[in-house]
Amino acid sequence: MTFSHFVRRAHLYMGLFLLPWVIMFGVSSIPLNHVASQVPPTWTQVAEHRFAAALPGAGENLRPLGREMMNAAGVDGGYFVNRANPQQVNVNHPHFLAPVRIIYYADESRLTVEHRSFSTRQFITGLHFRGGYDMGGFWDSVWALFVDIVSVALLLWIATGVYMWWKLPSTRRWGWLALASGGMCFAVIIARL
């Protein structure tokens, strides 16, 4: 196998393997770029538990309490945690299809578990926004790894694409024109923003 052959095959197979992510990142950018008024999602309470845990002090790490809340609600996986007010801590488990919200009312020693109704728009944008290694779920971190893989693949597609273009001398003139005009448009837009 020659280097050129290897480059072509890598470009192709990488693209075929990551096809769902490429389409997803493209399609999920549509609602982000074309903002429309939307009905707020509906949350339905599905459970309520007695729960008592010490609230961390202001500025202290809320994640251990968040994990306790997840365990008490019987939910596995990654989560975000925030303090809505001095007596209320919210945990969001951003499942793509069925997100869960857990709310701890410390002054009432009460924990509620809510499910969000399915919304196509939020499902699609949820796929786009999900990322990061700090959610605490194993598969969430594997998804984050795939986000990194897609990003590196984009850079490799550029590198291998430029290489393949350069190997086609008959396309060089128009290729240079496309590359230079793209670079100029990009630079002008960024400088003017």
Partner: protein, 191 residues
């Protein structure tokens, strides 16, 4: 002939959009690793602003006029008025965002700037989108985002076409497609 057209469009579109794809790739890595840190504003200058506004003028209109007088027109957001009448204008510059604070009581205008910093810039670039702002550069950016969207879908579909055209790659190509779809579906159902 059709195959050749598909191949050339795939390639020239990619060459044209190279800067956007590179910037989205690098900014995605930065965001996936949470590299952004709050950037501090440094005072650029302070001045007395003498223009007066009719009572009841909407804050956004006041902000637009102030930015115009400062030669800083462009996408912005405005907060306030605060109880003391203070308006805070966030000029959403891509390279150097600015914060302009106008205090009507003493007609003081303070202009602050964030210095260019790589992770902040990448974050701003990645999040810049939409047709809400009326400025030409913002509309051009939103149009370029749409171009990237169309291109991503086109590259996926034209890639499938070109793969199917090469008989020798069909087996391993099908294996890659099946593995990718399988893993993606697993994630959608699981997390």
């Amino acid at each position: 002939m059709f195959s050749r057209l598909v191949r050339r469009t795939h390639m020239y579109l990619a060459l044209f959009l190279t800067p956007w794809i590179a910037a989205y790739a690098v900014s995605t890595i930065a965001m996936n690793h949470r590299t952004a840190r709050p950037a501090a504003f440094v005072k650029e200058h302070e001045q007395i602003y003498t223009n007066a506004f009719e009572p009841g003028t909407p804050p956004r209109e006041i902000a637009r006029q102030i930015l115009s007088d400062l030669n800083l027109e462009g996408a912005f957001g405005v907060q306030g008025p605060a109880p003391d009448g203070r308006l805070t204008i966030n000029r959403q510059g891509m390279l150097s965002p600015r914060r302009i604070t106008f205090t009507p009581a003493d007609r003081r205008l303070v202009v602050e700037r964030q210095d260019l910093e790589t992770s902040g810039f990448l974050n701003r670039f990645h999040r810049r989108r939409g047709y809400q702002q009326p400025y030409a550069a913002d509309l051009a950016m939103a149009a370029s985002v749409d171009a990237v969207i169309v291109a991503l879908v086109f590259w996926a579909l034209s890639g499938l076409w070109m793969w199917w055209d090469m008989r020798a790659t069909r087996f391993w190509g099908a294996a890659c497609v099946a593995a990718g779809i399988g893993i993606f579906t697993f994630f959608v159902l699981t997390i």
